[in-house]
C-alpha cells in the first residue's frame, strides 16, 4: 500500500516536472523565435559578394588569395574581391554616376586585398629565404660589395628587387637589435619577429603596393532590389599581367605569337540581348592586346542623360566618352608611377613615401582626388585614344534609369615613336589554365520586391590569357 502511494506520488511529481519542462522549452523556443530577425540573412542586397565568391570558388575552382600555377602555364596568380554598396539617392539622373562610384570603391577594396595578399607572400618568401640560408652573406653597408649589389639590383626581376631591398632594411633592423651577423639562425629567428611587427608590416605592404601594376578587373557582379544594390569586383594579378603592364608603360612592344582581336571586336556588340547586358556591367579600364599584339587598354564610361531626349542622350554619351578616356589615363599612369618608383628604388623608403592605395579611404571623394592626381600626373601620354562604340540603355532598375555607356580603346602604337621599347615576347606566350573553361552559366532568377525592380547581373569575364 505504502509502495503504491509512493509510486503515485513519484509518478505525479515526474509528470508535473515533465509538463513544466516542456512548457519552459516551448517558451524558450518562442523566445528564440523573437530573436530570429537578428540572424536573418539578406535575401538580395549585399549578395553580389557571395555571387563573386561562388564564381571564384565553384566556377573557376580558384582560391581567394594566392593561387599556385605551373610556371609554363603563367605562374602563380592572385585573386581578390572588393564590394561596395550603390549609393543611390532616388535620382535616376545620377544613376550612372552612382554605379560607377560603387565600382570605384569596390575596385579599390579588391586592390587593398591584393596588397595584403602580396605583402603576406613577400614576408613568407623572405622568412623562408633566410631560413634556407639563401640570404646568408649580405654585403656590408658602405663596402664595394654593397655598391655592386646596388648596381646589380636594377637588372633584377621586379619581385626579387623588392625582396632584396626589404632584406637590406631587415639587415639594418637586425643590426639595430644587436645582431651583427644577420645570417645566424638566431638572427633569422629575430628577423621573423621583426617582419611581423606593425611597423615592418607597413613597410612590406608599401612595397607590395608597388607590385600592383597589372592588377585588373576580371569580372564584376551587381545586384539590386530596385532600391539598394551593391557591386562586387573580382580583381586579378599575375606575373604575366605585371609584365604586360611593364610593356605598356615602357613602350609599345610587339609580342609575337599572341595576335589578338582588334579592340573593336573585343567589346560587346549591340546585336544580341546578351551582349547588351555585357555593356551594362562593363566598367573601368583593363589591359589587353590588339590584333597586332600591342599592349592596349579598353575602357568603359557610364553617364546618365538628364531625361529621355535626343540632346540629353548626346550630352550623356559625350560624358561617358570623357569618363572612359580619363580611365585610360588613370589606369596607365597608375601603372607607370609604380613602375617608375620601382626602377628608381635604392631602398624601401621610396615605397613608403609613395604608397597611396592602402591609406586611401574607401569613399568616393578621396578616390576621385587620387584619380585626378593620376590623370594629370603625365607619366604616360595617352593622347590619341580611339572611340570604339557606345550604347544607350534603359537599366532594369527603372524605366527612368537611363545610361549611355561608351567604350574607348588605346594602344601603345598610339604613343610617340622613339620611346624605349621592351620586348616581352616570352611573357606573352599563350597561357592555358589547368581547369577547363567553365561553361557560360546562366542562372535566371525572378525575385519580386515591394519597392521596385530587382535585378542582378554580372560582367563578361576578362580574357583568361593572364
Amino acid at each position: 500500500m505504502t509502495i503504491g502511494k509512493n509510486l503515485i506520488i513519484i509518478s505525479t511529481i515526474s509528470f508535473l516536472f515533465l509538463t513544466i519542462n516542456i512548457a519552459y522549452a516551448v517558451e524558450t523556443k518562442e523566445e528564440f523565435a523573437t530573436e530570429k530577425p537578428l540572424i536573418k540573412l539578406h535575401k538580395k542586397s549585399g549578395q553580389s559578394k557571395s555571387m563573386a565568391e561562388d564564381f571564384v570558388r565553384k566556377n573557376k575552382k580558384w582560391k581567394i588569395g594566392l593561387n599556385t600555377r605551373a610556371e609554363e602555364k603563367g605562374g602563380d596568380f592572385f585573386v581578390s574581391i572588393g564590394t561596395s554598396s550603390i549609393a543611390f539617392d532616388n535620382s535616376f539622373a545620377n544613376f550612372g554616376d552612382a554605379r560607377q562610384d560603387a565600382f570605384d570603391i569596390a575596385f579599390l577594396q579588391s586592390k587593398k586585398q591584393f596588397i595584403k595578399f602580396m605583402g603576406q607572400r613577400i614576408s613568407t618568401n623572405i622568412v623562408n629565404e633566410r631560413k634556407q640560408g639563401s640570404y646568408a652573406q649580405p654585403p656590408e653597408p658602405g663596402t664595394s660589395e654593397m655598391e655592386n649589389l646596388m648596381d646589380e639590383i636594377s637588372s633584377f626581376e621586379e619581385g626579387k628587387k623588392l625582396r632584396t631591398l626589404i632584406n637590406l632594411k631587415l639587415d639594418q633592423a637586425l643590426r639595430d637589435a644587436g645582431y651583427e651577423d644577420p645570417s645566424t639562425p638566431e638572427a633569422a629567428e629575430e628577423a621573423e619577429k621583426i617582419i611581423k611587427t606593425k611597423e615592418f608590416s607597413k613597410s612590406i605592404e608599401a612595397a607590395a603596393e608597388h607590385r600592383i601594376a597589372g592588377f585588373q578587373t576580371y569580372k564584376v557582379f551587381e545586384i539590386s532590389d530596385g532600391n539598394k544594390g551593391d557591386i562586387s569586383v573580382i580583381g586579378l594579378w599575375s606575373n604575366k599581367l605585371n609584365l604586360l603592364a611593364d610593356a605598356l608603360s615602357t613602350g609599345g612592344d610587339i609580342p609575337s605569337g599572341t595576335p589578338k582581336k582588334a579592340l573593336m571586336e573585343q567589346i560587346p556588340t549591340q546585336n544580341t540581348d546578351e551582349d547588351i547586358l555585357r555593356w551594362a556591367f562593363s566598367y573601368g579600364a583593363r589591359m589587353t592586346t590588339d590584333e597586332n599584339g600591342n599592349p592596349s587598354i579598353l575602357s568603359f564610361g557610364h553617364a546618365s542623360p538628364l531625361f529621355d531626349d535626343v540632346d540629353e542622350w548626346t550630352d550623356a554619351c559625350d560624358q561617358a566618352i570623357v569618363q572612359a578616356e580619363s580611365f585610360i589615363a588613370i589606369f596607365a599612369n597608375e601603372i607607370a608611377s609604380y613602375k617608375e618608383n620601382l626602377n628608381k628604388a635604392q631602398n624601401t623608403k621610396i615605397f613608403e613615401d609613395n604608397s597611396n592605395l592602402n591609406n586611401l579611404k574607401s569613399e568616393t571623394k578621396p578616390i576621385k582626388n587620387y584619380y585626378k592626381k593620376l590623370e594629370t600626373s603625365g607619366y604616360i601620354n595617352t593622347a590619341g585614344s580611339e572611340y570604339l562604340d557606345s550604347i544607350e540603355i534603359q537599366h532594369p532598375a527603372s524605366e527612368q534609369a537611363l545610361e549611355c555607356i561608351a567604350a574607348v580603346g588605346w594602344n601603345t602604337s598610339l604613343r610617340t615613336a622613339g620611346e624605349n621599347i621592351k620586348n616581352t615576347t616570352k611573357s606573352a606566350e599563350k597561357i592555358t589554365l589547368d581547369d577547363d573553361q567553365e561553361s557560360d552559366d546562366i542562372n535566371e532568377e525572378e525575385e519580386e520586391d515591394e519597392d521596385g525592380t530587382s535585378y542582378s547581373g554580372e560582367s563578361d569575364e576578362a580574357d583568361d590569357d593572364f
Binding site: M51, N90, S91, F92, A93, G226, E274, L277, R278, L306, F307, D309, D311, D315, D318, Q319, V322, Q323, E325, K365, K368, N369, K372, K373, T376, P396, S398, E399, Q400, D440, D441, I442, N443, E444, E445, E446, E447, E448, D449, E450, D451, G452, T453, S454, Y455, S456, G457, E458, D460, E461
Partner: protein
C-alpha cells in the same frame, strides 16, 4: 557569362518634374551662352569651374561662379550711357547691389546638370524655383540713369 533577371513591379517617379523638364528644354540652347535663363517657373544659373584637383568643393566654386555670371547678366541688361567708362559702370552697379541684392530670397538651389568637359572644365547648371526665389534685375531708373535704348 551573364546572369540577369529583373521584374518590373512599379513605375517609380523619382525623375525630374515634368514641368521643369519642359521649361529646361526651352532654355537649353541659350543657357551656356547667356549663363543665365529664366522660364515661367524657374531661374537657371550656369557656373563653371576648372578642376585642378578634386580637393576643393567643386559645386561650391561653380555656384560662386554662377552668381558672378548672374551679376554679369544683370549688368548687361542695363542700357549704359556711352559716356560712362567701364570702371564707373561697375562701381555704380555694385554700389547698387550692396543695398539691393539681386536675390530677395535665395533658397533651394539645386544642381540640375553637371558636365565634365575634356579640358578639365566642369559646367554645372543650377535651378531655382521662382515660387521661393525672386531675382530683382536693376533697370536704368533704379540706377538713376536715362534709358536711351528703349
Amino acid at each position: 557569362m551573364m546572369i540577369f533577371s529583373f521584374v518590373f513591379l512599379s513605375h517609380q517617379s523619382f525623375g525630374l518634374e515634368k514641368q521643369l523638364i519642359e521649361e529646361y528644354k526651352k532654355i537649353r540652347s541659350i543657357i551656356e551662352g547667356n549663363k543665365f535663363a529664366v522660364s515661367d517657373n524657374y531661374y537657371f544659373l550656369f557656373g563653371s569651374v576648372t578642376v585642378e584637383d578634386y580637393e576643393d568643393d567643386i559645386e561650391f566654386f561653380a555656384e560662386a561662379n554662377a552668381y558672378e555670371n548672374l551679376d554679369v547678366y544683370a549688368f548687361n541688361q542695363i542700357c549704359w550711357p556711352d559716356y560712362l567708362d567701364t570702371e564707373t559702370k561697375v562701381k555704380i552697379f555694385y554700389r547698387y547691389l550692396e543695398v539691393n541684392p539681386l536675390f530677395d530670397f535665395n533658397k533651394n538651389i539645386t544642381v540640375l546638370k553637371k558636365e565634365k568637359k575634356p579640358n578639365d572644365v566642369i559646367n554645372i547648371i543650377y535651378v531655382f524655383d521662382r515660387e521661393n526665389n525672386t531675382i530683382n534685375f536693376p533697370n536704368n531708373s533704379d540706377l538713376g540713369l536715362l534709358d536711351n535704348c528703349s
